[in-house]
Symmetry: D3
Subunit: 196 residues, 6 copies
């Protein structure tokens, strides 16, 4: 936690030692698991109550079982964050997507233009719905749900897809507003085989 | 909890008796206070974990003290929800705004076009920032923060304004995706003097 | 006619006694019927010839018989004025819509997002056409007329729908340009039963 | 009045002999003056009351004296009609603009991109305001009026500029909705010297 | 080559005598054929290498044989240049379109709103594809190619249509960036019969 | 040159041995230098004349000396290609940018949101201009050139910036229209130190 870290957000970034115990525990756990602390944890620690709600919401949507794989959930994040021009989310979740999909190409493809990505027609339908929630949720109607059902998605899957897009509508705006900086570690993650 | 309530969301609405205890307690408390249960509580109860995170986040932003009055926080909700064409949020938070501002006109004005609303220049600057976060957060820059400071807002106030706009970017998308229906009670709230 | 009335428009508002006789007669008649003078009459009286043409056009479209009910004509006004962010027209015609439809909810619903309003599929088709004329008339084609016919609208009805949307494209722009202020009376009209 | 004329509008076009006397007189007068009947007169004759109001409004704005020349008024029509992609209005009023400005180039320049047209800085400011009324009237504010004043326009001139843009917002939508066809005569008018 | 010619571009315009031999030859040839030098040749001569590549590309797309007539190729140029608000390209290629189509009306119709132009359904399908490449190429998909095939266009024709739209995406941007001025000669070309 | 290569474009991809000698030479040279053949060379070889003009234009803009470094030229390509959602150009030129800038992070930052990228204010001004040419060239005016001059750019630099943005307006549209696929090699290039 050095002075240089102030640049990860345009708002003050608290020192780890000054954080409430539950936040510090969560941050140490992710550091243990990932080898570094993703900057979003430090930037949001500026507001402990919002931090707790944010990550509770995140985990409820991203860590659960269901009709979508974890890679597909990340695909929704990367595609909608690309449309919202959120640098932090594209870079950080692009890394997670590469790892979860075990595919070094799909994140960049989906971030730039998911219509041209090498994904399945079912995944394209999933992203059509997610992008509509992200960009014009006021026009979502029954024909959009029917399109999902045509690809085997249940209504619960539809909620998941839409709710992830909606949650990252929040997340992308926070990151852009705070000029949150992605950690250098993310850029290379999942691009080379582990044995490389 | 009758069959008619199914129409408050296109997703299943659980019966109160089947909800986890903490959700039921929260819902009964709001019913006690307001005289009815706002539909968002019933619609989100479909997903208890998301319900908990949603209202924790909401309360962290809307119930706190700080440089913004509670009426101003609601003003941000109404203005950004109008821009996102979210019927539930405009109608429900319009009611709350009328009550908190003790003003029967301001909510409709702000929902349609805040630039023409009878609010202070400081409040217009607040809504300029909020709308920019809502609609093009990727372009937020230092000049936007400077404009807020010119009206006496601190950086902490700026976070509040932006975070409320960001949270309702999520909320508006959920409500539109689920076709959440505002309760009839909201439409008239705050429009007539209590003694009337 | 007091000094305070200057704030109903950013342009000069003439005194009633100085108006041409036909304008004064029209204004007194509306005051007799409504109990107050809607500000649009006073604001446009600034230009008597334009006043005459404006209300002649308005009456030709809004007061006639035909395939659309008067409530449906107001619905078109409220929906397109919402899309054009015209505070005066949403508030004033929202009141008229509530009264004509004998429904205290429909105006707010239609103003924010007609796709989620509790109206008939035929009325939604009517508003689809109206909104397309309001926002992208250059793309109107035979398929749009076919959609109307599929809901039982004649070509004369189509003209009515489109012409009302077109007339309020004018009206909304005048009101926004002049910062026309809705009368306080409109906000509560049609929200409570007459016997209330 | 031959069968071929039906194609000047997708709605029925009445025969001259069947029109109310005042409409017929107006049409014969314009034919006398111009040498042909502009199709807008025949297309709108489908609805006599709307015809009367339309041309009364048109004349009130376009034929009056004031701070704008008649050529400048037509310039506003051509620029906003270009932005609204209205073929009838660009072609017909382009002809009138060429004649009134005695300039065979200005109409095409203004219709495509007024920012690059060979007009005065004052005229560019006039068109900046007109285009803002045409495309985003909800954002018009005092700084827009100040910009006009900086070029010597009075508030009455500002009303004229905005009202013409607003009236053609109506006119453009009617013409696009009815697929109104410009007369062949307009294309060449004002392009060659009279003595040529 | 007089001083007045400097105004044909906001960048320096070289004198003919100072140009590389191949540029001068090309310019003299076009002058011989057209009777004047279209300003785009003089404006781009500022950069000889870019001039050579630009016209080589232009000729490869516009002068070849294939499923599209030369008039249809110009129709694509005029429609997409209208959408891009490029004055030079609309005026100059409008003239060429009038001549190649032997039709004094079609260029103005297509420039303002091709959907209302008096062209064939096949040509409208061609322009639908061209405009989609011009304005949202990222959304082009197999259904767009299928629509072209439904009107008898081959895949090679589709490439031609899209590549012309893409090339003028470049050309329109150069002309707007340099404020390139159309020659006076273009405005009247193709409007009157040769024998007139 | 195997069957699998057909998937690099939705149009036929010629075999190297069947290409005109100059195209084959160019392709072999790039293969020699890069270790693989970027797919754009194979996809455009479908049309030899367009291939020649395309790469001549590319080289005239990207390989020259001048006020912009080669890394800055690539920065313009990546930023505008991101805005145009062109997968091929973002991935391929992102690789070149990483190498030329000797910076493994800048390409992803610029592709998603250049306003938040770790580049100089001068480079941000360069990208402001480039993005305006890419997305709304019709509004470019003297104030945009003045902003560039304020950062030390000459008019010749301005042409370079705008012309690169304009050329990739073409390139992005071709790649999206043909669903051009980036080579796998690009994704990792420039991300790890050579000695790594």
């Amino acid at each position: 936690m050095t002075a240089a870290q102030a640049s990860i957000s345009r708002f003050p970034v608290p020192e780890l030692k000054n954080l409430p115990e539950d936040l510090r525990a969560r941050i140490l756990a992710v550091q243990e698991k990932s080898g570094f602390v993703p900057n979003v944890f430090l930037a949001l620690a500026h507001r402990p109550d919002e931090f707790r709600a944010f990550f509770a919401y995140h985990d409820a949507l991203m860590e659960k079982e269901g009709g979508l794989t974890k890679a597909e959930r990340e695909m929704i994040v990367v595609a909608t964050s690309g449309a919202n021009e959120c640098q932090y989310c594209v870079v950080a979740h692009g890394a997670i997507l590469r790892i979860r999909a075990k595919n070094p190409y799909v994140a960049d493809q989906v971030a730039v233009n998911y219509r041209k990505a090498e994904i399945t027609p079912r995944q394209k339908a999933m992203l059509d719905f997610a992008l509509k929630v992200a960009l014009s949720a006021q026009t979502i109607g029954e024909s959009d749900y029917a399109a999902l059902r045509g690809h085997g998605f249940s209504d619960e899957d539809a909620w998941d897809i839409g709710a992830i897009a909606a949650f990252f509508a929040l997340s992308n705006r926070l990151a852009n507003m705070a000029s949150m900086r992605p950690n250098d570690e993310f850029y290379l993650m999942g691009r080379v085989p582990k044995s490389g």
